[in-house]
């Protein structure tokens, strides 16, 4: 009898499942649906929100497009779920193009693009196209954030009173080495060329937390790293992580009377959390890149590319044309603003190229000989931090 009872329970379970099963398939229409996979929350005031808002803008301005999205795509937030699983879901909802917004999704995007040869893929910040590992339907997109980071380092060094600049770094890879090094070069330029101080007196230290954002119990806690920076006399901290801890802690410390500042990252509205502590924010504007690729895909002209889009030097904050920008923060002084404008002009006309030798790697080996300038390949794949920077390179 017991067995019959259990059998009945089983049958009941199955029939309940069957009652819930099967909705009719979504009707085909002419809408071009694209799916966005974001590594963090869509409202992180950082990396993921910059993507989310750009995609929303595409929906508004490119007629016939519709966005569907999943955020928090990482194994800590979504246990047991992989990128190919999510791509399956987006494709079954009609997505014809998928954007994966994290370096962490590289393997998953590669696998998914193999599984769905008829769907287009944009992998942000990756270089599978460059290295020849990408399927034909996958394209790479990134912004030339080196310029934004140089501006971040520049305003940091001009503002610092202790000459100690902290860099709240995410994980260590070619991208983060590149961007932290660019910030250091900007800081060193301001220190030596504007303030006319010796380079050796500038301290620049990177502390890596281990991932793009805080995962309790897994990464170092960025709030603690920030406090540690400030307690050790670092008075300007440049953030390289996806979220806003650097600015928030700097804002709190200012309320306690400390003279500290931060330079947030990624998102146009990055200063909003604590404007009085914010020197400015280098940010990505994904609209031009998204637009170019999505329109090509809609017209049947999708072409695999390794797109590394720079600022529009006529107006780096033009949302239609400039793929990276820098918005000055409320805490940036008038003098510093003037110097920044000169610096930006120099970067724009090419009279300032900070990736020019003599430059050494952190271990003292030669990166660029005197007068030599780095090419894109050397900058993209920077193997170490630069001489003068503290912090792990690998």
């Amino acid at each position: 009898m017991k067995l019959i009872g259990k059998g009945l329970v089983a049958i009941l379970g199955v029939s309940l499942a069957l009652i819930l099963v099967c909705r009719p398939a979504y009707a085909a229409d002419t809408t071009f649906t694209f799916g966005l996979l974001m590594v963090g929350p869509a409202n992180d005031h950082g990396w993921s929100q910059a993507h989310f808002e750009a995609a929303r803008e595409i929906e508004k301005t490119v007629s016939g497009t519709k966005m569907i999205y999943i955020d928090k795509v990482n194994p800590a937030d979504r246990p047991g779920i992989t990128v190919p699983n999510l791509v399956d879901d987006l494709v079954s909802k009609g997505a014809k193009l998928i954007i994966g917004n994290s370096d962490d999704m590289k393997d998953g995007m590669r696998e998914a693009s193999m599984m769905h040869p008829d769907i287009y893929f944009i992998h942000i910040s990756g270089d599978d196209v460059h290295t020849g590992k990408a399927e034909k339907n996958l394209t790479n997109l990134m912004g030339r954030m080196e310029y934004g980071k140089m501006m971040a380092g520049f305003v940091a060094a001009l503002t610092s009173t202790t000459g100690k600049i902290g860099d709240l770094g995410p994980l260590i890879n070619a991208e983060t080495r590149r961007l932290s090094s660019a910030a250091y070069l900007g800081a060193r330029y301001a220190w030596t060329h504007v303030l006319k101080k010796p380079a050796k007196d500038l301290k620049y230290k990177v502390s890596w937390i281990g991932f793009w954002f805080n995962i309790p119990g897994v990464t170092s806690d960025p709030t603690l790293v920030m406090r540690n920076f400030i307690d050790s006399g670092y008075d300007v901290i440049i953030s390289g992580i996806d979220t806003t801890e650097a600015l928030i802690v700097a804002g709190q410390k200012r309320k306690e009377g400390a003279e500290v500042w931060a330079v947030p990252y990624d998102y146009r509205g990055g200063c909003n959390e604590a404007p009085d502590a914010c020197l400015g924010v280098p940010y990505f504007n994904w609209i031009p890149g998204y637009k170019q690729i999505i329109e090509a895909a809609m017209n049947g002209n999708f072409k695999q590319q390794f797109l590394w889009l720079g600022p529009d030097w006529k107006d780096i904050n033009n949302s239609e044309t400039s793929s990276i920008g820098f918005l000055e923060g409320a805490a940036l002084g008038t003098e510093q603003k003037k110097e920044l404008a000169k610096f930006q002009k120099g970067l724009a006309d090419g009279s300032i190229n900070l990736f020019t030798g003599p430059l050494n790697y952190q271990d003292g080996s030669v990166f660029l000989k005197a007068g030599e300038t780095a090419n894109d390949e050397q900058i993209w794949n920077l193997p170490q931090l630069l001489e003068g920077m503290e912090g792990a390179s690998k």
């Binding site: 009898m1 017991k2 019959i4 009872g5 259990k6 009945l8 329970v9 089983a10 009941l12 379970g13 309940l16 499942a17 819930l20 099963v21 099967c22 909705r23 569907i68 999205y69 999943i70 955020d71 990482n74 194994p75 800590a76 979504r78 246990p79 047991g80 779920i81 992989t82 190919p84 699983n85 999510l86 399956d88 879901d89 987006l90 079954s92 909802k93 962490d104 393997d107 994980l171 260590i172 890879n173 070619a174 890596w208 281990g210 991932f211 995962i215 119990g217 897994v218 990464t219 193997p383 792990a392 690998k394």
Partner: protein, 347 residues
């Protein structure tokens, strides 16, 4: 049919209905209070987990480790042990398997390497379970505290390996180790999202567990130890030894689940390799009233919740952590119904 027989048939059924009604009622009320439609959520979650083979097979890929963990827990619960350390055992299984895969990659044929990795998983998890048992037998440390402590140690080891000796060349990231060579992935047929071998292993392990518990002397010994250790001793059973064996078996099965997470799901070692399936396994076995027969169905329900929840942000723009609320409501409902049942019986 006498009345006691009738009650053995109706009680589990009635309980099931009560639990289901209470859980659905509570969740529906909560959703309505939040301004959401329970029907829309049920529809999108069920469509997201069982509307076609690809989705069903994805659901089964979550069911597989859940079933393995729950099977392992059936042994320990039967022996009266709370194996909270199951998460750590799963992690150590994943580490054991990865160690074998890294060592033997290219040295032996891929099929053999994968088989040895599974043995490594069993061994890693089994050993971690054994430590909990030894701490209990020799050190007098309750298995809950021993297990929790060893969970932290396992988490420490996996983080150290990923950020240290096993990190990707030139990269230091908590996102995980390098991807395994393709021939070391458990093979998944086109259009499937679950490796048939993994599915077979989980189903086999479950059947074996049910068989061992119901039809063998060892099963009886476990039951005796779980019910009354003093009485068990009178029958010549050594409770410590039986408990230790249960912990090793439970840990071994959890370790195998960890190995499958590496070889069939993520194809690399990541910090959250256990995905919380160990803790979920505890809930499943408790909800099943510690009976084997109901375990696969409850595990299936939890897998469907996990697989279907991803539809919530896509379709309804609702955070998928809602599925955690539904899970919680089910567990609470079960506890309430079981509690009421116990109260009624004791009167």
């Amino acid at each position: 049919m006498n009345s006691s027989r009738l009650s053995t048939l109706t009680t589990p059924l009635l309980q099931f209905f009560f639990i289901a009604a209470l859980a659905f009622g509570a969740v529906s009320l909560l959703l309505i209070a939040l301004g959401l439609s329970p029907m829309a959520i049920a529809e999108s979650m069920s469509a997201g987990s069982i509307s076609n083979w690809m989705r069903i097979s994805h659901l089964l890929s979550i069911w597989t480790p859940l079933l393995l963990c729950a099977s392992g827990l059936l042994f320990t619960f039967r022996a009266g042990l709370w194996n909270i350390g199951i998460e750590g055992q799963m992690v150590m299984g994943a580490i054991g398997a990865t160690a074998v895969l890294r060592m033997l990659n290219g040295v032996a044929p891929p099929g053999l390497v994968i088989a040895l990795a599974m043995a490594g998983g069993l061994l890693g998890g089994g050993m971690w379970g054994m430590f909990v048992g030894l701490l209990r037998n020799r050190g007098g440390v309750n298995e809950i505290f021993g297990g929790l402590g060893l969970n932290f140690v396992a988490q420490g080891i996996i983080l150290w390996l990923i950020f240290g000796p096993w990190k990707r060349a030139g990269i230091a990231s908590m996102s995980g180790t390098d991807l395994l060579a393709r021939d070391l992935w458990l093979s998944t047929p086109p259009g499937w999202r679950v490796a048939p071998v993994a599915l077979g292993l989980a189903a086999g392990a479950f059947l074996l567990t049910a068989l061992l518990l119901a039809n063998t002397r060892f099963g009886l010994q476990l039951k005796a130890v779980g019910k009354n250790q003093q009485a068990a001793r009178l029958f010549g059973i050594q409770p410590n030894l039986v408990g230790l064996t249960a912990m090793m078996l439970g840990g071994g099965l959890a370790g195998l689940a960890g190995c499958l997470q590496v070889t069939a799901v993520y194809h690399r070692l990541i910090p959250s390799i256990s995905s919380g399936y160990g803790y979920l396994g505890l809930l499943i076995v408790m909800l099943a009233g510690y009976r084997a027969a109901a375990v696969p169905f409850i595990a299936l329900f939890f897998a469907a919740l996990a697989a279907g929840s991803i539809q919530l942000p896509i379709v309804l723009q609702i955070d998928s952590s809602l599925s955690g609320v539904i899970q919680g409501a089910c567990v609470l409902s079960a506890l309430v119904v079981h509690g009421l049942h116990q109260q009624k019986r004791s009167r």
